[in-house]
């Protein structure tokens, strides 16, 4: 089974299928636009833009069911690099990238760029440091990979427990973002929508596991990209005659800068360790767009971009996807596509932020408080924006804005048809659902593969493994609903905590497992334990205000300490066994059979000879 033609693995009609999906999604959007012009009710349009795409994703997810473990956990290892990269890029961004990052860029301008740097830098790190080796090993989950590399069931169980923490935080964050987008889309409360979106995400992937997840996420990624491109491109055409918002927002940026100077927006310099991202809810706009280090200090900026990049590079949710590519070369290449896709998105978001800021500065700031433009009054009624002093002329510092609403507020501000606003929301919902489903799948496979079946070796039957994973997925969905409703924190904060924890636990242990041969099971345990404890301790200190650093930066302390602890603990204990060294050596070479597949094949042969 080692040598199979690549052409036999990859479905040659994938392009056609997703062409059909793109056409269907575009048709749905145009249909809704026409309905709006014909005077259809608002409720119908909302339902169409919420339900229509979800029916399409569900059709894709449910029709690609899987019964074999290889299909259920690794999509049969036949996802071409481009599709894998597309899903990786959009899953990495998720609702946090689409909703919260746009809003942060809009509120604090340049300082939020540390997060966009982190997204693509994380994917670069993942491609160079981890993905090819994890793919060569081919384990379905990261704890399985670590358990095999260190030849220790303890490492496997501990890794399963430790890596679940960032996944659970990510689940809660993405569920909140998805619920937020769905709430605006349907006009319902967020608490009501959280169970609905989690149920949709879990329902789509439950029949086919990774197979359903991959193909429905490709559809979600296409929907998210289209939804992001449409409003931004229309505005770019209106202001510069070129449909490239990423490159042509310069003139608008000049207007923004000039208006900020005229309105006397102060230049503030934050202390190097300050880290003040806008929170959820209505917050004032206080900073100039282009000026750097006004709310995030210079040191925090650099640290944050590294910590979040490390968190994304070693994120258990994203790394389990590298096992789905046909080979090591494709796994590397897919990260290239992922950087390209996320890069294009991350260059569009600042353009959206700049357009919205320009509209605010030109049409609201400096005007009389009782004669504000229609769109701003709409935003005020919706609870997205607020103005403090009513009677006098409006100053920028008097305007408050809801962070996560910036993405779709642009379409409202530009006076677009209501359906384009719903399209932007549907795109954000698609991205958040892709990330949500990926995290659900990651935690379900960890629960089933490492916790339930991990103690007994790989002797469980295929049906039992898939069945357990489906049950685990259901359980994880319920836990997520509970977390999304119970955790009161800002979803962006939850997202950053998840990244900082995965940077301090998953990143160092993977780095040592792959790049340092001498590290043994004790080193791995010490790394994960130190990383988790130090980071949580620093987070608590940061939250309590005992230290100056923000809790989101705790990983910057945890990561180096975890690395050091792992190296020291390995030095003090005996060197790893010869068989463990052989695993590392084979893992480092792309050629040859995938290690995990070979192990399963030999196990099956052994069982056959016994019976």
């Amino acid at each position: 089974m080692a040598i199979t033609a690549r052409t036999r693995l990859v479905n040659p009609r994938l392009g056609t299928y997703f062409g059909i999906f793109t056409a269907a999604f575009a048709a749905l959007f145009v249909l809704a636009l026409m309905f709006e012009q014909l005077g259809a009710s608002d409720g119908l349009l909302r339902l169409l833009m919420f339900g229509g795409p979800i029916v399409l994703y569900a059709a894709i997810g449910l029709s690609s069911s899987a019964t074999e473990a290889r299909d259920f956990f690794a999509c049969g290892r036949r996802v071409p690099a481009f599709f894998n990269g597309l899903v990786l890029g959009i899953t990495a961004l998720g609702g946090a990238g689409f909703l919260a990052l746009t809003g942060s860029l809009f509120m604090i301008g340049f300082d939020a760029v540390c997060l966009s740097i982190a997204f693509y830098a994380g994917l670069v790190f993942m491609g160079v440091l981890f993905a090819p080796f994890v793919r060569k090993h081919g384990a379905y989950t990261l704890p399985t990979f670590l358990g095999r590399r260190f030849e220790s069931r303890t490492v496997r169980i501990v890794a399963a427990a430790v890596l679940s923490v960032p996944i659970l935080l990510l689940l809660a964050a993405e569920a909140r973002f998805a619920a937020y987008a769905a709430a605006w889309l349907l006009g319902q409360s967020e608490r009501l929508m959280a169970p609905l979106v989690v149920a949709c995400a879990a329902g789509i992937v439950i029949t086919g596991g990774m197979r359903s997840l991959t193909w429905s996420s490709v559809a979600q990624a296409i929907a998210a990209l289209l939804a992001l491109a449409v409003p931004a491109t229309i505005i770019a055409l209106m202001v510069s005659n070129l449909p490239l918002p990423q490159m042509t927002h310069g003139n608008v940026l000049r207007i923004v800068t000039r208006a900020e100077i005229v309105n006397g927006v102060p230049i503030v310099l934050a202390p190097p360790l300050a880290f003040d991202l806008p929170g959820a809810g209505i917050e004032p706009l206080i900073k100039r767009f282009v000026q750097s280090f006004g709310s995030v200090g210079s040191l925090s900026f650099v640290l944050m971009s590294f910590v979040a990049a490390a968190g994304i590079a070693a994120s258990p949710t994203l790394l389990s996807r590298s096992g789905t590519t046909p080979g090591v070369y494709e796994a590397r290449k897919s990260l290239g596509w992922a950087v390209l896709v996320s890069g294009v998105v991350l260059l569009t978001l600042p353009a959206i932020a700049v357009y919205l800021r320009a509209m605010l500065l030109e049409q609201v700031v400096g005007h009389a408080g009782d004669r504000l433009p229609m769109w701003f009054q709409l935003l005020q009624q919706a609870g997205i924006a607020s103005v403090e002093a009513k009677a006098q002329t409006v100053r920028l510092s008097a305007i408050g804005f809801e962070r996560d609403a910036a993405l779709f507020a642009l379409s409202i501000a530009a006076g677009f048809p209501q359906v384009i606003v719903y399209l932007a929301l549907a795109g954000a919902l698609a991205a958040a659902m892709a990330a949500l489903a990926a995290s659900l799948m990651a935690i379900a496979s960890i629960l089933s593969e490492d916790v339930v079946h991990g103690l007994s070796g790989e002797t469980a039957s295929e049906a039992a493994r898939v069945g357990t994973a489906r049950l685990a997925l259901l359980g994880a969905a319920f836990v997520t609903i509970g977390l999304a409703i119970a955790l009161p924190a800002d979803p962006l904060q939850l997202f950053l905590w998840s990244l900082t924890l995965s940077a301090a636990t998953s990143f160092p242990v993977l780095l040592l497992a792959i790049w340092v041969k001498r590290v043994n099971a004790w080193g791995a345990l010490a790394t994960m334990f130190t990383g988790l404890v130090v980071t949580i301790f620093m987070m608590l200190l940061g939250e309590a205000g005992a230290v100056d650093t923000s809790s989101a930066l705790a990983g910057a302390v945890g990561l180096p300490l975890a690395l050091a602890a792992g190296l020291v603990a390995s030095r003090m204990t005996p060197a790893p066994e010869r068989s463990a060294l052989d695993t590392v050596r084979e893992m480092r070479v792309p050629g040859g059979e995938t290690l995990y597949d070979r192990e399963l094949r030999l196990l099956r042969l052994k069982n056959r000879t016994q019976t």
Binding site: L123, V128, L129, T257, V290, V302, S305, F306, G592
Partner: protein, 86 residues
């Protein structure tokens, strides 16, 4: 399949490639945002240069880094006979 005695040179080559890919990128990640303010005087496409480099420039550097890495690492694999045999 690669020769046994090729393993060490292959891994040395791979390590050097990893450093050659990551170090310039990491350096750019640190330097470009820190000096953004100083570069904002100049403009490119109407966008202040410092902001442009930190935002667009780093994204392009990231993509070039990974593209060059994929290409070079594949060449290293073939040179040492470590590539996948499809």
């Amino acid at each position: 399949m690669m020769e046994r005695n090729e393993r060490k040179p292959y891994w040395r080559h791979t390590k050097m490639q990893m450093l050659a890919s990551l170090l310039p990128f990491v350096l750019a990640m640190i330097v470009l945002p820190l000096y953004a303010e100083a570069l904002n005087e100049k403009r490119i496409l109407g966008i202040p240069l410092g902001y442009f480099l930190a935002c667009h420039g780093l994204a392009v550097i990231g993509f070039v880094t990974i593209a060059v890495f994929v290409n070079r690492q594949d060449a290293i694999d073939h040179w040492h006979g470590a590539h996948e045999d499809f």
